[in-house]
């Protein structure tokens, strides 16, 4: 990491340790909602909501590598916020469009005034190109009919980015979440996050609501998905690091047979192997951030590599973490379960291991 990135990480850590420790997530889960408008406003004030919004539009314009640094720190304590949905995915989509409306939308993201959710999935697996939701032309506009699921941040978001099929391809719509005909149902997620199933019934949209060009959703969506996948990978690497730190600490203090269990070579080697995996994954994530900043046209391989590695590493980190904690790791009173559940949800979001490994293989010629 560069010196600037290290400073950003330290600053983020300082804030998140105070405002968003795992205990905060536990508190919000027990209270029934993980949405926290006050902390998002604070993050916006620190420039995080506008991390990808150009300074001309009121953002901090720090870039993709910086967004990854923030996401990584958030992952360590499982901080919940609309950062990925709004500040990374929606902002990147809006950046592909240069009209005045997009500029004003970006300004609202940067200030924390508007939050977004991305409505892409229709089946159980991520596969945007196969979206079937109907957006037939209706006079000068469109009528949206269909269902979306696994819409992260979808219950509380002010606006939705909706992928739907128009006459000659896919189109991305940017519409208010409370428009007539939209019905949002909260999914009861294992990780307690804000996720919605959304039904669209004769929802009216105009040309104004189209982000980018009609029938060309992927021009706008592809870079947004890549940015989201990279930042999610960074968040998962942070999650892995958080679970790992807890585990190593436990190995040093828990005693059995009269000694710290960290003295046992069987556990030492498992922990050391996990550290090696975390290190290798962090290289893939740094690389993805650099590629998105410096060579976005060719970032696809780097992004899929990062998400694939981060997924495998996070799953390993929570499994090893739980096993090495023994029985206490299975209790709800202990935090490891939170890491395990978030890892599983994040593994699925924006493409699982197979999805991204398949992309890597295709790009590598087999």
């Amino acid at each position: 990491m560069t010196e600037e990135e290290t400073m950003l990480a330290d600053m983020a850590r300082g804030y998140l340790d105070g405002a968003m420790p795992v205990s905060k997530l536990r508190e919000m889960r027990d209270a029934g909602s993980t949405h926290n408008a006050a902390t998002w406003k604070e993050m916006a004030d620190m420039g995080w909501a506008g991390v990808l919004v150009p300074e001309s539009a009121g953002g901090s314009g720090m870039g993709f590598a910086a967004a990854n640094v923030i996401a990584h720190e958030m992952g360590k304590t499982l901080a919940v916020s609309p950062f990925l949905s709004s500040a990374v995915i929606a902002a990147t989509a809006l950046r592909q469009v240069s009209d005045a409306r997009a500029q004003s939308a970006l300004a609202k993201i940067a200030s924390g005034e508007a939050t977004y959710a991305l409505a892409v999935d229709e089946g159980i697996k991520f596969n945007p190109e196969s979206a079937q939701m109907d957006a037939r032309g209706d006079g000068n506009g469109f009528r949206l009919n269909g269902k979306k699921q696994f819409v992260v941040d979808g219950v509380m978001a002010d606006r939705l980015l909706v992928l739907a099929r128009t006459s000659d391809g896919l189109t991305l719509f940017d519409i208010p979440a409370d428009r007539a005909g939209i019905d949002r149902e909260k999914s009861n997620m294992i990780d307690a996050r804000d996720v919605a199933r959304i039904t669209f019934e004769d929802v009216e949209a105009t040309g104004e609501d189209v982000l980018g060009a009609v029938d060309s959703a992927m021009d706008v969506l592809r870079p947004a998905l890549q940015a989201g996948q990279a930042a999610l990978a960074a968040e998962m690497a942070g999650l892995s690091a958080g679970a790992f730190a807890m585990t190593v600490e436990y190995l040093k203090e828990r005693k059995q047979f009269g000694v710290e269990i960290g003295k046992f070579q069987a556990l030492q080697h498992r922990a050391a192997h996990l550290w090696c995996e975390i290190e290798v994954t962090s290289s893939a994530i740094l690389n993805a951030g650099r590629m998105l900043d410096e060579n976005p046209e060719n970032a696809e391989l780097a992004v899929s590599l990062a998400k694939a590695r981060a997924t495998e590493t996070a799953i390993l980190a929570v499994q090893e973490g739980l096993q090495m904690h023994g029985g206490i790791g299975m209790t709800d009173a202990f935090d490891m379960g939170f890491y395990m559940k978030r890892a599983r949800v994040s593994a699925e979001w924006l493409g699982d291991y197979s999805y991204h490994a398949e992309k890597v293989a295709n790009m590598r010629g087999f």
Partner: protein, 388 residues
Amino acid sequence: MTLNPIDEFRAELRAWLNENCPEEMRDGLMSEEGICWGGKDWVFTSEAQKIWLGRCASKGYTVPTWPVEYGGAGLSREQEKVFGEEMALVNARSPLESFGIWMLGPALLHFGSHEQKLQYLPPVARGEVRWCQGYSEPGAGSDLANVQTHGADQGDHWLVNGQKIWTSYADKADWIFALVRTDRDAPKHKGISFLLMNMDDAGVETRPIKMISGISPFCETFFTDVKVPKEQIVGTENRGWDVAKYLLTHEREMISGGGAGLSGGGRALGAVINDTMDEMGATLRADAMRCEVDTLAIGLTLERYKDQSEAGQGAGDASAMLKYMGTELNKQRHELMMTAGGSDALEWDGPLGNRAGDWLRTKANSIEGGTSEVMLSIVSRRVLGLPG
């Protein structure tokens, strides 16, 4: 148009390579047969190999990052990256490989005197002297500091007696750098010296060991009353373990790099899988996909640590991680290559060349230079701070 210095370097290098790299040396070959090891008894496999070595040596390109006065080209890390890219672009073979480059060079550059550097390094860079490494002994494998080969102080020289094992290519080497116990009374790490010995000296004898791959790259080396002048020590007497440890870090990074198959090997797996896709089916492809993901990520990790080394933060204890991950991956890769090759891969020098031999050779990767288990213990103690 004016170019910035790095682009200018690239342009000049590209022109030089186009002009000077012989056509026969543009096959990127890195197999055992294609390597030029140099040394006084070296027999070039072709005139092109000789010409290529000579031309590279004259520019310092056999050891691009070494200082110019010691035979290198004095390249920065940034230039070294460009050098690697441009060499790959013309698919050039490495002009010279040797333990002198990988191991002795880093040791002398760090611990040697100016006179030692001037004496020993330029001949290595020119491919005139071939070195081997005398570390392991029958009783000193993972417990390397237990070396028993003894150097008795005779005033102006040491009288060395003992035995080394796994001395790679000792039968073809001109010189050896070895760990020798020069103080039997000190704690085991504190009585070792790092000595340079001429393989032609009276009392040095080598015997090749036939390995499971059918070839004999490793030897046993015996020392009987070998006189080693006192000036042939690197670093301080009885402090050779410092040099050894430093070199092990280099060796681990080197083995891990080879392990990740980064010099074009990454493509090879995909091509191999494609060739036999119809017969292999989905399981092999899935395994290969996983291997490819890990290959790319480990390659990026090696680059990241090289970049850090340039900035003064060496890989240090993390070299254990690089070595462990790189070598375990390489073994896995070669298992996949064997599966993809089917029964064709099961013949010595069969339709797939030396694939079986290469596969068997990789089994040593996670043993030589410190076993995977030793690497994990290093990470556990030094990086994670778990109790010893």
